[in-house]
C-alpha cells in the first residue's frame, strides 16, 4: 500500500484539485465572455430569433378627379400568409391548406420558391382571400400553425373600365422591377403601379409599409404580439388630385359608339390640363387586383382589339385632313399666303402633277377657293399646291419645329413618339437617294404619306391653335417641362384659322355637328386616316367656344370610315362640358358631304420598299409601335 501513503495521496490530491479549479476556471471565463462581454450580440440574436416582422401594407393614395371624385380607392381585403417554421413543415401545412384554399402542386411550388427567397418572412399564400374563406380558415386555425390572416387594403376602381387606361392598375412587384432604383424600397410581394397614373405616380401613391413584430416559437407558431412600441405604423400614400373631370369622362364613355375602337382626349387649351382621356375598348383594372387570373390575362393580351392598349398615347394614325391646319399655319407663318389667297389651279376634282393625277376627295371639285374656304371644305387640290409652295424641306423643318416628331411628355407611361420625317434624308433612307420625287410633298400636305400621329400630339397641336399659339403640354397631375414651342402666328392669323374651323362645323365637312341652339360656336377639323386594311379611321378635333376656347377635344374612331362621323361625338363632348343641352344634337341627323375617297396613288410607281409597306396581315397599323408605320400612297382628302 505504499502508493496510498498519505504523503503521496496529498500530492495527488493537490494535483486533482488544481485540475478541478483550472477546468472550472476556464468554464467560468467562457461563461463570462458569453454572458457579460458578448451579451449585447446574443441579446440581439435572441430578439431576431423570436421576433418575426410582419408587414403592415400601406394603403395606396387615392386618385381623384379635379373635383375630388374618386377614381381609385381602397377597400378592405384579406391576405393569407404563413409564418414558416422550416421548409418541410411549411410544405405539410400547405398540403393541409390545399383543399380549403384550392392550391395545386404548382402553386405550392411557387409558394415554396417565395419562401426560399426570404425564409424568415411570412410567405404569401393567397393575396386576395374572400371573407368566407377567411372565416373558414379562422375556424381551423389550430391545425395550421403559423397561419396569418391580415387585413390588407385592396385597390378598387369604382369606374372600372371607364378610367382603365387613365389610372392603370397595380400588381405585385416583379424581380426585375425590384432591381430598379425606383422600386428598391418595395418589399417582396408588394404592390406597385403597373400602368397609367398608378405607375407614373407610384412613388407618391405607394406610401411606406409599416411593420409589426410577433413572437414566434421555434415551430413558427405565433405566440403573442410583441410590444406595441416596436410597431411601425404604415404611412398611407399621398392622394393624387388629377385634372380629369370625371363627369366628362363618364359622358365620353357613355356616348362613345359601342363596340368601336378609338380614343377621345379633352384638354383645357389654356393650361394643358387633360379633362378626359378615354380609350376603347377598355378593360377592368379591378381584375388585376390581387393577381390577375391567367385566363383573363391571356384574353386581354390576345384579343384582336388589344384592350390594354391606350389608343390616345400609344397608337399612331395618319392624321389625314386634321393635319391641313398645320400646313395652313406653316404657310401663314412663312407669309406665303393670307386667308384670301387663291391657288393657281382651281379644284376640278384633282391635280396633275408630273405624270400623276392626284385626286381631290370631291370628284366634282370645289372650284376656286380661298384658304379659309379650302380649310372648311378640306380641299385636297388647294393643299397640294400649298404644300408645293412651302416646299418639302421647309415643310418638314417647320412641322418638326412645332412638335410633330416629339412626344408631348404627358405624365402617363408608354407614350410613343409620332412618326414624321425629320428631314429629306428620311426619304433617302426609306426609298434610297434619288428614288423618290417631290410628289411626297403632296401627300404630306394632306396629312398622308410618312406621317402618323398620336391623338395626344394632334390635340396638343390644336391646343396651340385654340390658345395664343403657345404649346402647353398636356398633363394629368403635374405639367411636364414646357418646350416653349409656338406656332409663330399673329393673333389675327390665329383668329382666321379659328374662323375657318368654325366654318368646318357650320357649313363645311362637319356641318350640323355643332348646333346647340346657336349659343356655342365650335371650331374643329375632320380627318380621315387612310387605312390599307379596312375602313378608314375617322378623326375630329375641335374646340369651343371658338372665340375664347375653354376645351379642346380630339377623337379618333377606328374603322369609322371618315372624320365627319366622329364630329358629333366631339361636339357633344364639348357641349356637355360647356353645359349646353346636347339632347337635341343626339337626335340630329348630321348632314355630311357624300364622300368618294380618291383611289390610292402610289408615290413611287412599282418601287415600294419592303420595309415601308406593312404586311397585309389584317392587323391594324395602329397597334404597331415601331417606326415602320409609313403608309402606302394616299387616297384621302
Amino acid at each position: 500500500m505504499s502508493s496510498f501513503h498519505p504523503h503521496l495521496l496529498d500530492r495527488r490530491l493537490r494535483v486533482a484539485r488544481a485540475v478541478v479549479w483550472a477546468i472550472m476556471g476556464l468554464i467560468v471565463v467562457v461563461f463570462f465572455r458569453t454572458q457579460i462581454l458578448e451579451h449585447g450580440k446574443y441579446r440581439l440574436q435572441s430578439e431576431l430569433n423570436r421576433l418575426r416582422p410582419i408587414t403592415l401594407p400601406a394603403p395606396r393614395g387615392l386618385i381623384m378627379d379635379r373635383n375630388g371624385k374618386v377614381l381609385a380607392e381602397n377597400v378592405p381585403g384579406y391576405t393569407v400568409s404563413l409564418l414558416p417554421g422550416d421548409q418541410d413543415s411549411l410544405r405539410a401545412v400547405l398540403r393541409r391548406l390545399a383543399p380549403l384554399v384550392k392550391l395545386d402542386e404548382a402553386e405550392i411550388g411557387r409558394v415554396l420558391t417565395r419562401y426560399r427567397r426570404a425564409p424568415y418572412l411570412p410567405v404569401m399564400v393567397l393575396p386576395n382571400a374572400k371573407f368566407e374563406l377567411v372565416s373558414a380558415l379562422e375556424e381551423r386555425r389550430v391545425i395550421f400553425p403559423g397561419l396569418l390572416i391580415q387585413p390588407e387594403p385592396k385597390r378598387h376602381y369604382p369606374d372600372s373600365s371607364l378610367v382603365a387606361h387613365l389610372v392603370g392598375y397595380v400588381g405585385e412587384v416583379t424581380e426585375a422591377e425590384r432591381g430598379q432604383r425606383r422600386f428598391t424600397g418595395v418589399r417582396l410581394g408588394g404592390l406597385v403601379g403597373k400602368d397609367g397614373l398608378e405607375r407614373q405616380y407610384d412613388d407618391s401613391l405607394r406610401g411606406a409599409d409599416g411593420v409589426r413584430f410577433v413572437e414566434v416559437s421555434a415551430l413558427g407558431r405565433v405566440v403573442r404580439e410583441a410590444g406595441a412600441a416596436s410597431t411601425l405604423a404604415p404611412v398611407s400614400g399621398q392622394p393624387l388630385r388629377t385634372t380629369i373631370d370625371l363627369d366628362l369622362q363618364r359622358y365620353v364613355a357613355q356616348i362613345f359608339p359601342a363596340g368601336q375602337r378609338g380614343a377621345v382626349l379633352a384638354l383645357n387649351p389654356n393650361t394643358g390640363e387633360i379633362l378626359a382621356l378615354y380609350s376603347a375598348p377598355g378593360f377592368d383594372p379591378n381584375s388585376f387586383v390581387g393577381g390577375i387570373e391567367a385566363a383573363t390575362w391571356r384574353r386581354l393580351n390576345e384579343s384582336e382589339s388589344h384592350p390594354l392598349f391606350d389608343r390616345s398615347i400609344q397608337a399612331r394614325y395618319p392624321p389625314g385632313s386634321t393635319w391641313k391646319l398645320a400646313v395652313a399655319a406653316i404657310a401663314l407663318k412663312r407669309g406665303l399666303v393670307t386667308f384670301h389667297s387663291h391657288m393657281p389651279i382651281p379644284c376640278r376634282g384633282g391635280l396633275q402633277y408630273g405624270n400623276r393625277f392626284f385626286r381631290c376627295w370631291s370628284a366634282q371639285g370645289h372650284g376656286d377657293l380661298a384658304l379659309a374656304d379650302a380649310i372648311a371644305q378640306s380641299c385636297d387640290v388647294f393643299f397640294y399646291q400649298l404644300g408645293l409652295k412651302i416646299g418639302l424641306s421647309s415643310l418638314l423643318e417647320e412641322a418638326n419645329g412645332i412638335g410633330f416628331h416629339t412626344r408631348t411628355g404627358v405624365d402617363l407611361p408608354g407614350e410613343i413618339t409620332p412618326e414624321f420625317p425629320t428631314g429629306t434624308e428620311y426619304y433617302d433612307r426609306a426609298y434610297g437617294p434619288r428614288r423618290w420625287t417631290s410628289a411626297v410633298t403632296l401627300n404630306l400636305a394632306i396629312g398622308q404619306g410618312e406621317n402618323a400621329q398620336t391623338l395626344v400630339n394632334m390635340v396638343r397641336f390644336y391646343q396651340m391653335l385654340a390658345s395664343d399659339g403657345h404649346a402647353r403640354p398636356p398633363f394629368l397631375v403635374h405639367p411636364g417641362p414646357n418646350p416653349n414651342v409656338t406656332l409663330g402666328l399673329s393673333p389675327d392669323q390665329l383668329a382666321g384659322l379659328r374662323q375657318a374651323m368654325i366654318s368646318v362645323v357650320e357649313r363645311g365637312t362637319a356641318r350640323g355637328a355643332g348646333r346647340f341652339g346657336g349659343t356655342i360656336t365650335i371650331a374643329g377639323k375632320t380627318g380621315t386616316a387612310q387605312n390599307p386594311h379596312g375602313p378608314d379611321h375617322g378623326w375630329f378635333i375641335g374646340f369651343a367656344p371658338a372665340d375664347k376656347p375653354e376645351i379642346v377635344v380630339g377623337a379618333i374612331v377606328e374603322f369609322a370610315r371618315e372624320g365627319p362621323y366622329v364630329a358629333p361625338l366631339v361636339t357633344r363632348v364639348i357641349g356637355h362640358y360647356l353645359g349646353v343641352d346636347t339632347t337635341l344634337a343626339s337626335h340630329l341627323r348630321i348632314v355630311l358631304p357624300t364622300d368618294s375617297a380618291p383611289h390610292p396613288v402610289p408615290i413611287l410607281p412599282g418601287v415600294v420598299p419592303e420595309d415601308t409597306v406593312p404586311p397585309d396581315t389584317g392587323r391594324m397599323d395602329t397597334t404597331r409601335t415601331d417606326t415602320t408605320n409609313a403608309t402606302p400612297p394616299p387616297r384621302d382628302r
Binding site: A16, V28, S217
Partner: protein, 415 residues
Amino acid sequence: MRPRLREIDKPLAGVVVVLVAYGLATLYSAGQTDVPTFVATIWHRQTIWLAIGAAAMFFMFGLSPRLLEWATPYAYAITVLVLLFTLAMGSGAGTAASERSWITIAGVRLGQPAELAKLAVILMLARWLAERREPPATLRDLVYPCVIVGVPIALVVLQPDLGSAIVFIAILFAMLYWAGTKPSLLLLLGSPAIGLVLAFSTAAWGAWIILLFGLLLWWRPYVWEGLTIMLANIVMGVVAVPFWRRLAPYQQNRLLAFLNPEVDPRATGWHVLQSKIAIGSGGFLGKGFTAGPQKRLAFLPAQHTDFIFPVVGEELGFLGVVIALALFVFLVLSLLRIARRATDAFSSLCVFGIASLIFSHIVENVGMTVNLLPITGIPLPFFSYGGSFMLACSLAVGIALRVAWESRQSGYAEL
C-alpha cells in the same frame, strides 16, 4: 454497526441537497414553455426518481464497503450482460431515436444501463487496483484495467453512445492516476488517441511522432512496449481518415458543428447556436426564473435533458451559472476530500472514481452548451431529467457518504 443519520458527512449531504433543489427548480422552469409540452410536468416524474434515488442512497449508505467489494465482480458481470442485452434488444428514445441505449421491456423504457455501467466499472477498477500492492508501472500492468473499461466502452460505442465512452476513458485515467500510476505512463497510454486526433494534419502528426520518439528515449520503457506505442500511434495516423468515414453522419456533424456552429444554423449547428444565444442573452442577472424567452418559445432544444444548463444561463444569468458551478466544485472537492481520507484503498479509489465520473459529466455537459466541447448526449448531474443517471448519482453519493462515515469512525472526522 449501522451508521446513524446524524453521523453523515454534512458538507457532502448538504451540497447534494442544495444541488437537487436547484436542479429540480430548473427542471420545473424548463417545462414552462408558451406552448406546453410533456416537459411541463416532467418535474413530477423527476421527484419520483428523486425518491427512488434517496432510497438507493440510504441503501448504499448502509452497505459496508467490504460487502460492496465482494459484490463488485457480480455487479460488473451483470452490467456487461445487461449491456449486451441492450445492444441486442435496446431501443432509442427522444432525439436519439436511432440509438439502442434503452432497455425496454414490454414497451416500457426502463432505463439506460450505460449510466449504471459507469458505476460498476468504477467499482471493478477500484477492486482490481486496490488488490495490487504496487501501482501499475508498465503498459503490461495496464492491460487488465484497460480490458475492464474496454468491454463496456465497446458495448456503449456500438449503441452508439460516444459520450459515455468518453466518460469511461476519463474514469480510467483518473483512477489509474489516483492509484499511483506515473503520469508519463498515462501519457504513453493516451498517446494513440492524441495521434488519432493529430492525424488530420500531417505536419502536426509528424511532429507528434518525433516528440513521442524523444519521450520514449527519455522515459525508457521496455523495448517492446516502446515499439508497441510507436506502432499504435502510426496505425492511428493511418486509420484516422477511414475511421472518420466510419462515424455516423450525425457524429461527424456534431464534431464539425463544434468547430463552426454557424456553418448551418438550421440543422447541425442549431443546438449549439440556440444554446449560446440563450446563455448569452441572459446577461449578468438573467431574464428571471421561468421567464427565458428562448426556452419559452422552444428555441432551446432538449431543454430538460442535455441542454438544461442554458435554462440556468438564460433565466438566472451569469450569477446563477457561477452559483451552480461553485456548488459543483464544492461537490467534487468534497468527494476528493473523502477519497483522501478513506480508510482503505478500495474505498478511496471508489470515491475518486465517483468524483471523476461526476466531474467529467459536469465538464462535458456544461462545456458543450457554450461550444467549449463537442455535443454528446451526456446529462448534467442532479439537473437533467433522467432516471438511470439520477439513480447512478444517488448510488454514488451513497457510497461516498458511507466511505466518509467509515473514515469518521476511524478518527478522521475532526481533521
